[in-house]
């Protein structure tokens, strides 16, 4: 399906004026008269028993209005699905940064002083700092009462796990894997690792909570307010309709703002003081105590026939879930994108084992395409290594194995989605893959495949006498252009100028909404916008919007509402081609050029889409080259943005994005999701290019100069360089 011409014109974002004048109000910008400031006492130990907490000195400090400890909230745990994270710890702390007490005071300085006056006596316990240790048969069990934890309702049940320190575990098989391996001409096995990395939305989390009559009012940076409401209701033992969650403008999410941890204790502080209580997370706490992308270790084994065609595949993936599984909203408590390795390829028989593991590290959570970047780094690096061993080019190996319509994929499901071979060919063409390159330069490829999200929401439209339409939705706009997407679908469907369509976000007092995430908004909210616009069109019965508006009396409006359930299965896809230069004396990698060939179906927001794809590329580039939330003894070493390095404008290479669309997306007008499509493939493409350039194979992200230098094959190293010790 081809969309209306309105969609071909660049959009002017609904939030453009307020964001370029400073008028947009983010949660930390809200004026809340009489608000107290909260601060928390955090554990310095990765694992310890709380012996005692002495708050007397803090309570007597002038300006302190409330002090709470774990004892005050004993038994209350929070989480998106499994509620295993204590609102405040009462018996044990499980990671450096776990909260033991909370203070509300007149100013942030007083709150900070009070925190220092609270003395906590701990008895140190030996910490489980790595996954292998945690999975030893005799390892201490980090959540001995885990069976009693609340598991929030939704699709799916809490998984059974083989070890009590598993958060989630899965073994999926299709085909006779062992027989298929037995038939393979050659079998290859490799292991890869990725570190924790942080979403690093530049707006730190913030929240304000107050009690108003029998209502609990929450303003939060959480990107899924209904989910936060439901979590709070479950944890705090309140009925859902007593809690109202609202947002300010959200300053970036990238998955991290799906988990909120402060709002729960802020409620208790607000109740104790009768005043609004707010907190704006210090960036150091943001980096060290919120839910980063899981570190992973992934082992892959693949059998190929004499022609290099994949006949059998298996994967073993471990994800370090840290102290709590609370950050994962999925029923299996996995980072689901990490389970099915070799996505996008024809895999006649496969076995995938994946697990998330409890350790005494900072808890893991969701981040832009959860699990996928780890998976794709392993899968696409593995393919390159296989190609080299087989003596064929990595591109040729991919061409032979890429899934075509109807081919069995790694899940056993037949492939339906974009033409992957065409994407690869186009990326190869645009990077000029056949051109000989001088020493120290190389190119690398990777494929990216991302499902299109599903779910249900309601959007209503109100046509007023002035001819304008207000669309009401429960979804926020964290920067992805969600509201402009709704505006343009409505305008396109009704054939009106987009400027006549406004979008208003409702709090949780409006109809249920799943929030932002899971590549959901384009099919789900876009679909609902389309359905609502079609419903309005029908109601107008052949009249134009302008005619219908003129016929309205004072105060009259035409209201329609559409609930839409997006159920169809679909994928967006992209092929990466990246050219690098490696300085072989130092190992330093410079990305010279990048091409991303994408199929995201019909474009709704051309400017916004470009931004999602370009931004996704750089997001992946950061993971490839720089980002590493390294821990030492359970403590995050890079606790500020001076040490946790994000790409800057001077670090990004020339990037060409090529659109190839079959126009068959399942979203409105044939659209597909784009936000989580591009970032997962970048690290593998860079790693593959680095090996092509200099022979260094880096199995562990990020691809630092030092790692590349250490992995240089002997002949590449200069024969008579300076002293290297």
């Amino acid at each position: 399906m081809t969309g209306p011409t309105i969609l071909d014109r660049p959009e002017r974002r609904l939030d453009g004026d307020e964001k370029t004048t400073g008028a947009a109000k983010y949660t930390a910008d809200l004026e809340v008269p009489g608000a107290l400031q909260a601060a928390f006492v955090r554990s310095p130990y990765p694992h310890a028993r709380i012996v005692s907490v002495d708050t007397a000195r803090a309570r007597s400090l002038a300006g302190v209005r409330a002090v709470l400890t774990g004892a005050d909230v004993r038994g209350q745990r929070l989480g998106r699905r499994l509620q295993d994270w204590p609102v405040l710890c009462w018996d044990r702390v499980l990671f450096v940064g776990d909260r033991v007490a909370a203070v509300a005071a007149d100013t942030r300085e007083i709150a900070d002083d009070a925190v220092r006056l609270i003395s906590v006596e701990y008895e140190e316990l030996s910490p489980l700092l790595d996954m292998d240790e945690a999975l030893r048969p005799d390892a201490p069990v980090l959540h001995p009462d885990g069976a009693s934890y609340r598991f929030l309702e939704g699709r799916g049940e809490r998984p059974a796990v083989p070890h009590p320190n598993h958060q989630g575990h899965v073994l999926e098989t299709h085909g006779d894997v062992d027989a298929a391996f037995a038939r393979a001409a050659r079998t290859f096995e490799h292991e890869f690792a990725t570190p924790r990395i942080h979403q690093a939305a530049l707006e730190p989390r913030a929240a304000v909570v107050w009690v108003e009559g029998d209502r609990v009012r929450v303003v939060s940076t959480n990107k899924a307010p209904f989910n936060l409401r439901d979590q709070m209701a479950a944890t705090l033992g309140l009925s859902k309709d007593r809690i109202v969650v609202d947002n300010g403008t959200i300053g970036g999410d990238f998955g991290g703002k799906g988990l909120s941890t402060d709002e729960f204790v802020l409620y208790h502080l607000a109740k104790a003081t009768g005043r609004p209580v707010r907190v704006v997370t210090r960036y150091a706490d943001e980096l060290t105590t919120t839910n980063p992308r899981h570190a992973s270790r992934i082992r892959l084994r693949t059998g190929v026939d004499a022609d290099g065609r994949i006949v059998a595949h298996e994967s073993h993936a471990l994800f370090d879930g840290g102290a709590y599984a609370a950050g994962k909203p999925t029923a299996r408590l996995l980072v689901e994108g990490g389970v099915e390795t070799l996505e996008g390829y024809r895999v006649p028989a496969a076995r995938h084992e994946a697990a998330t593991v409890y350790t005494n590290q900072v808890p893991g959570g969701h981040m832009r395409a959860p699990g996928q970047p780890q998976n794709v780094f392993a899968s696409e690096s593995h393919l390159d290594l296989i190609a080299r061993e087989l003596g064929i080019t990595p591109l040729e190996l991919r061409r032979r194995n890429v899934a075509r319509p109807g081919d069995p994929t790694t899940t056993g499901e037949p492939w339906h989605g974009p033409d992957l071979a065409a994407l690869l060919d186009r990326a190869a063409l645009d990077i000029d893959a056949d051109r000989p390159r001088p020493g120290g330069r190389g190119i690398g490829f990777a494929l990216g495949v991302r499902h299109v999200g599903r779910g249900s929401t309601t959007i209503s439209l109100r046509l007023g006498r002035d001819g304008t339409i207000e669309a009401r939705t429960g979804v926020g706009d964290q920067g992805g252009g969600q509201h402009t997407l709704i505006q343009r679908i409505v305008a396109a469907t009704l054939g009106v100028d987009p400027v006549t369509v406004r979008v208003r976000r409702l709090s949780t007092e409006g109809p249920q909404d799943p929030g932002i995430g899971g590549s959901r908004v384009t099919p789900v909210h876009g679909g609902a916008a389309l359905a609502a616009a079609q419903a309005l069109k029908e109601k107008l019965g052949g009249r134009s919007v302008a005619e219908a508006a003129k016929a309205l009396g004072t105060g009259e409006e035409i209201v329609v509402s559409a609930k839409f359930d997006a159920t169809a299965s679909d994928h967006g896809a992209c092929a990466h081609a990246i050219e690098v230069a490696v300085d072989v004396d130092t190992g330093a990698v410079r990305v010279l050029a990048a091409v991303v060939a994408v199929d995201v179906g019909q474009v709704i927001n051309p400017v916004g889409l470009r931004g999602q794809l370009e931004g996704g590329f750089v997001y992946g580039l950061g993971m490839a080259l720089f980002e590493d939330l390294a821990l030492e003894d359970g403590r995050v070493r890079a606790a500020n943005l001076g040490d946790y390095k994000l790409p800057t404008i001077a670090d990004v290479p020339p990037l060409r994005i090529v659109h190839l669309s079959d126009g068959h997306g399942v979203g409105p007008y044939g659209a597909r999701s784009a936000g989580e499509l591009v970032n997962p493939g970048v690290p593998a493409a860079v790693a593959n290019a680095v090996q092509d350039a200099c022979g260094s194979r880096v199995h562990t992200l990020p691809i630092t100069a030092e790692r590349v230098w250490n992995a240089l094959p002997a002949p590449t190293r200069r024969p008579s360089g300076p002293v290297r010790s």
Binding site: G22, L202, P204, Y283, G611, N640, L641
Partner: protein
Amino acid sequence: MTQHRIRFTLNGAAVDLTVPAERLLVDLLRDDLGKTGTKDGCSVGVCGLCTVQVDGAPMSACLLLATQIDGAAIRTVEGLASPLQEAFISEGGFQCGICTSGQLMAADALLRVKPKATDAEIRDWQMGNLCRCTGYYGIERAIFKARDER
């Protein structure tokens, strides 16, 4: 502990007030003067969210004591009227918008002193303003456009 009378201009208007020694410029702007367009991000001068112009030069409001701007001319996004703003909208120079005020104040400072800044100079100048959304391409296009259309 000590209180200090400071006089400066904010977006052209004279301001005369008394602040405690430890007041940061970012807090003065946001909390005392209600100018919340200037954001507080990393709090260590790296991210650029709090970029304001001090006598025309871009600086981190999170690293300046209010006493240090006595006598200076301060410009924040609330006082900005520049073709950069429309260019950021049309070219995709922002998504979530949290870095946008800082990006704009930095870019405006450059184009005021160097209307024909080269692409490389623009990249070097904006290097201190992080953006996690756009990958910077839209920001580049916006600044180049505002420069070229001058």
